[in-house]
Symmetry: C2
Subunit: 330 residues, 2 copies
């Protein structure tokens, strides 16, 4: 069986270009005893993939990333034809597996893209980062950067559910409108039009208790002087840095605010929240059913679009989660 | 009775100048019933005083700061003539008090300057910052900037006592020699002669688990990429920033290291360690008696030297604690 895969051909310097990726056809054999064959339906495209292109991602083989697929053939006792499975083996159409790293998905009546975003790692990242890393308390003042992005939009809405005053930044008027009118954020900043430092000052009349950082650089620089005593900065990502050599950021020069306000800044990665997953799923499904959490996805069609989807993240081509759909959703 | 006081006459921009301070004589009355009269012997001069000159320190009145004095006259039931007292009423020769904010000092056979440094707030800051804020574990790899300074030299030695590999930076060869030869640090960097980033890379072959930051700016920028997973940065001070408007630092551009290594950076102020004081004094007195902690003071003579002492901190005029002695030590 022929399967198209996305390969990294050349390590990008700066913003990746389409020519640095290749769509390569390979043969996928039939599953042997103890194996199963999976056809990917959706694959996730994440900003955090970019820093890995500098070294961790091997050249000239299939890239990896979150995916949801369907079992086409199974000779594995744990899976049967038609099962939905989650894996980290995106960026390819088909794959054979012994089942390691695969988990069966019970969609529970929810659309599959929800499991790639608000009910998946994206949601868990927002939930854990806000409630554990930042130790958010009800009613605090919260700033979320890239608040129309996949993680940011979930973090901002969880903060609203917790009764917080929420400020969000985004890079277009339409994203800002979504944040203000649909997600009901208290204040929004179009960082491409406004000067962040002054805009944040007027958007945060009570200062900031928690900054959920997805951007780094000038966003972080502007947030630090607005932080209240004992404020927490949860560093989820720094998309502004990922295309720079060594992930060098715009200059941050306001870190002395860390001292007198006794701030805590903490970087985190989703896997530390695995123990929370059951609680997270229960909360998030309830919030979705109650209509208290909305989510959007930007879904490009066909594996050939994967490189464009990844590159598009850095110009804000997505609202909410960026996905690639490989075949029709069953 | 006439008393000389140090006043701030004008708010400095950049490095303070002598002309921005005045030595002013005032009258100090005899203590009334319930009051006591104190003559200061030693007063503390600290980098953290500089940021306060931008606003918090009032103009044209006596500045404040840690001091040890002796009771000259007492009409207060809690104090008698000859008692040694600690206060925050430095920068003046004499003062009358109702006893608020004063605590009696039992020198316990130790020299008074020790109570202005290693056994005082300086020591408590190093002890709490390292053991509580940074949660130092025995045997870790530790970097201390301004390691020949008052807090830094204590922090570096506590880390050595805890079996750590300790790297220190300082701004002169003689300070570096003291750190290496007397305090037995494992590696030292003269940051005025070496390029911090490259020097730190070779000085920290096992990476850095804890960075005790007294400097900020380029020191912090160089330390971030060397931090190990789950590393902690305890931000005690940022002396490199204090003379800049708004305490703006040299650019820090390496904060993306916070994410993947899941680092924690935490600012702190000594007063949060008050509950530790008894434990701290017991540990520190034992270490001093065992000869495991050394300390140095740079002691300028006469209250007239107080402005020069403060200004001198920013050119590294001190090794260890900077003090001013007002009268002969009894």
């Amino acid at each position: 069986m022929r399967s198209k895969e996305v390969h990294l051909l050349e390590r990008p310097q700066g913003l990746p270009t389409l020519g640095q990726f290749g769509i390569v056809e390979t043969d996928v054999s039939d599953p042997a005893a103890g194996e199963l064959l999976v056809e990917n339906i959706y694959m996730s495209v994440d900003p955090a993939m970019r820093p890995r292109l500098a070294g961790q991602t091997p050249l000239n083989e299939a890239m990896g990333g979150g995916a949801i697929g369907r079992v086409l053939k199974s000779r594995h006792a744990g899976f049967k034809e038609g099962d939905l499975v989650e894996s980290m083996r995106g960026f390819r159409q088909y794959f054979v597996s012994e089942g390691n790293g695969l988990s069966k998905l019970d969609a529970d009546g929810m659309p599959l893209p929800a499991y790639m975003s608000v009910l998946g790692l994206t949601g868990l990242t927002a939930y854990g980062g806000l409630l554990v890393t930042a130790a958010l308390k009800d009613g605090e003042s919260v700033f979320v950067s890239a608040a129309a992005g996949s993680v940011g939009s979930v973090a901002a809405q969880i903060a609203k559910i917790k009764g917080c005053y929420v400020i969000g930044s985004a890079g277009s008027d339409s994203k800002c409108r979504w944040l203000k009118e649909e997600l009901k954020l208290d204040a929004v900043i179009n960082y491409k039009k406004e000067v962040l430092r002054t805009a944040l000052k007027s958007a945060a009349p009570r200062g900031i208790d928690v900054y959920f950082d997805n951007v780094g650089g000038e966003h972080l620089n502007a947030a630090l002087p607005r932080m209240n005593a004992l404020g927490r900065i949860a560093v989820c990502g720094m998309i502004s840095t990922y295309n720079n050599f060594g992930a060098i950021s715009e200059p941050v020069t306001t870190l002395s605010n860390m001292i007198y306000n006794r701030l805590t800044m903490k970087g985190f990665v989703f896997y530390e929240f695995e123990p929370l997953r059951a609680q997270f799923l229960s909360d998030m499904k309830r919030w979705l059913k109650e209509g208290r959490i909305q989510y959007r996805s930007t879904i490009l069609q066909g594996i050939e679009q994967a490189p464009a989807a990844l590159i598009g993240l850095f110009s804000g081509a997505n609202t909410g989660k960026m996905l690639v759909q490989l075949v029709k959703d069953p």
